[in-house]
Symmetry: C2
């Protein structure tokens, strides 16, 4: 891990000739801070914030937009340790609002027990919850764990995974009946029976897992949120919103549905070109094709021309066909590609913003040596270097330039919160569907 950025070296260098429009957007956001915060307050009165979330942003200098919203965020270990108190305070807020009676929390992590980075995230989350005054135990979905099992972290700490026990409508581990289940598992493999029909709080709800969640639904909600917000700020919503379309009934292996994908790729490229012309942007538009359900950067490709979709070779089709846990890709999101023009020592960087309750609690840059500015930086098997934000996203400096570090971080926090608000509305829809 890189050392956290410092005031002396606060943010990746924004490598773009187009420095005009983004500072303009940042200026707008900065000037509108009271209106923005007032608007958010109103929104959070109407919509319950997800327990936590992280948002991948892309900053092209002319556009600042979320490209992925994770409702079961890993990577809490990558945050600046100085922000731990912010995480603790936000967790206390969340618990107070959602389940003030909670004393005990059962954390259910992903089942990859050999990924040191992920295990460190579990340890970081456990620390945050304990500091917030909760009793925390970790229950695993791994069937091979039949007794409490210590797993050593690289730094010498231990975390203990325990087998889950289902008792009527309660999920427990030995001698511990928690008030609340905190999922840090995105349920890519489906909703396990032990998690069904519980009378405990399950956060986020199982309906937010990838069995039922769809990126296209998330971005549809994001559209609505952005349109309201753009109206408030009098900005072109495109400046913070990537175009997208969705194709169902896809089978990459059998070459089914490729025409749908190619058609939308073509449409979206045309729309981006029009926007680039409007803003005088001299870059080649690109589109990202990715699985509509699923995560971990699997099943993702960068496309610059519709013909590429029709000419996928066997290997490429295989890669696109399955995501995590072998889930087959049947639906696809075709999304406007947003360049990342931020870089750290020549390597492409993208900001990831973390929230607990509706508070921004930190973030980091994903820094990639081997990937381009038009590629997904959250790819499997590729080791990104996390660069922790040196300042939180809540302390803009009105005396400084709009693109000064605290102000850029504030803009990141605003856009990330728009995505979180979309996720809140999305979870409402998913939960309503699950109970109907």
């Amino acid at each position: 891990m890189l050392n956290p950025a410092t005031p002396a070296n606060p943010v990746p260098h924004l490598k773009t000739a187009l420095s005009g429009p983004l500072p303009d957007l940042e200026k707008r956001i900065l000037e509108s801070q009271p209106a923005i915060e007032h608007w958010f307050r109103g929104q959070w009165q109407e919509h319950e914030s997800p327990f936590y979330g992280s948002v991948d942003l892309r900053n092209s200098g002319f556009k600042l937009a979320p490209v992925d919203t994770n409702l079961f965020p890993g990577g809490f270990n990558n945050l600046n340790p100085d922000f731990l108190p912010l995480c603790v305070q936000a967790t206390q807020s969340a618990i107070e609002k959602i389940c003030p009676d909670a004393r005990g929390v059962l954390l259910i992590p992903e089942s990859h027990t050999r990924n040191q980075f992920y295990l460190q995230n579990v340890a970081a989350l456990t620390t945050i919850l304990r500091q917030a005054g909760l009793i925390v135990r970790i229950g695993t979905l791994l069937p091979e764990i039949t007794a409490p099992t210590d797993i050593a972290l690289a730094d010498g700490r231990l975390i203990t995974l325990e087998p889950l026990i289902r008792n009527g409508r309660r999920l427990m581990v030995a001698g511990f009946d928690p008030c609340m289940i905190l999922l840090n598992n995105d349920l890519s493999a489906g909703v396990p029976d032990v998690l069904k029909d519980l009378d405990q709080w399950v956060l986020p709800p199982v309906a937010a897992g990838w069995t039922t969640r769809r990126k296209s639904q998330h971005f549809a909600h994001y559209n609505t949120v952005v349109n309201e917000f753009a109206e408030l700020l009098k900005i072109d919503p495109w400046r913070i919103n990537p175009l997208f379309e969705r194709c169902g009934k896809i089978n990459f292996k059998e070459r089914q549905g490729e025409e749908c994908v190619a058609g939308y790729v073509s449409e979206i490229l045309t729309d981006i070109k029009a926007k680039y012309r409007e803003y005088g942007i001299d870059h080649e538009p690109f589109v990202i094709v990715k699985a509509d359900a699923g995560t971990y950067g699997m099943g993702i490709m960068t496309v610059r021309d519709a013909s590429e979709v029709m000419q996928l070779n066997r290997n490429q089709r295989k890669k696109m066909a399955v995501v995590k846990e072998g889930l087959e890709v049947q639906e696809v999101l075709v999304q406007e590609g947003v360049y990342t023009f931020e870089s750290v020592a020549e390597a492409a960087a993208e900001p990831v913003v973390y929230m607990i309750d509706h508070f921004v609690v930190g973030g980091f840059y994903r820094v990639h040596n081997e990937r381009g500015q038009d590629q997904n930086l959250n790819a499997p098997g590729m080791s990104f270097a996390p660069l922790a934000f040196w300042s939180p996203c809540s302390t803009p400096d009105h005396a400084a330039r709009p693109d000064a570090a605290p102000n850029r971080f504030y803009a990141y926090g605003v856009i990330a919160r728009l995505a979180l608000l979309a996720a809140a509305r999305e979870i409402e829809t998913l939960s309503a569907a699950a109970t109907s």
Copy 2:
């Protein structure tokens, strides 16, 4: 101002031979963290937190107790600047709960415009509120300010004081009709007419000012809070609660009511002696006599024997007779003195803990070169050096010793929150009395 304490030099040295009992209390608090936080969550469901508050603590090594709770806290400028994000997040929480519709806040500070330290506090508060996304203007009660007036701070910043305008049941400054009035003025001089019968939010309510507030009422509520808390932790409530009694109908100048004070001094000294014997504490008990209403360390004296009260000379009686704004002392609090055995470079130090909403957001040590361990350290005309806490009070380290810095800070935060909870109940009583 001293530099903030650092991890290398984290807390004042606790100078006491009696290192046994306090680490024991700290250990108890640390072990009980989940129970404590759960209990506080329940309390804050039932009682609305004051908007903000600061609590003066005294730590004698065998006793850790609040001696004063300020509902209009100055000194935000003394907090560690690294905790600004915590202040901002807590302010957002407070606004959301109390008045989510608020956009504009009118801050009403104390009227001493020549006290640079206080003006820096006003600037710090303004920054916190602005970072939380509010529009802030500062309205003054000073009649001589009839037009917006810039006042320069020592660091070159400006704050602008504006004359108040009363318009029907609204309090405004020119062109600004705020949703909320934030009082940073303790109303020692009484409740001015402009603040009466407003239909805006006034926080804290005017009933919390010194016209109606009494320390004895606060500590009566604190008694109740501590008894519940001590039950939860199975500790002797005396360990965190100073004994007190109250005398009314006092007139120091006319030597009226001195018998009452002397009587209670004698009683309390006897009770302290019994407690010191029980715990094997080899120190001379002392008592603090102070005005039951009022602040700024005026009208306070340290007494070791009841006879001292009867033998006050003319000068001493004059000193005790009036507090801030010439308010005459008619009621007196007789309070168990708590030694401060914390010291910084041989100077006596006492911790002051700051809260916004019900969250601890930082604190500092008041460090005095010229005052003893049995004296009030918040005295007029005496310049204390503030030493900012280097860590917030929300991140105890369960792997460290109970008296390690983060754990001592956590204990401070717990005791301070008990005092804040007492203040919440006190404000309920005061508000009910004001509207009945």
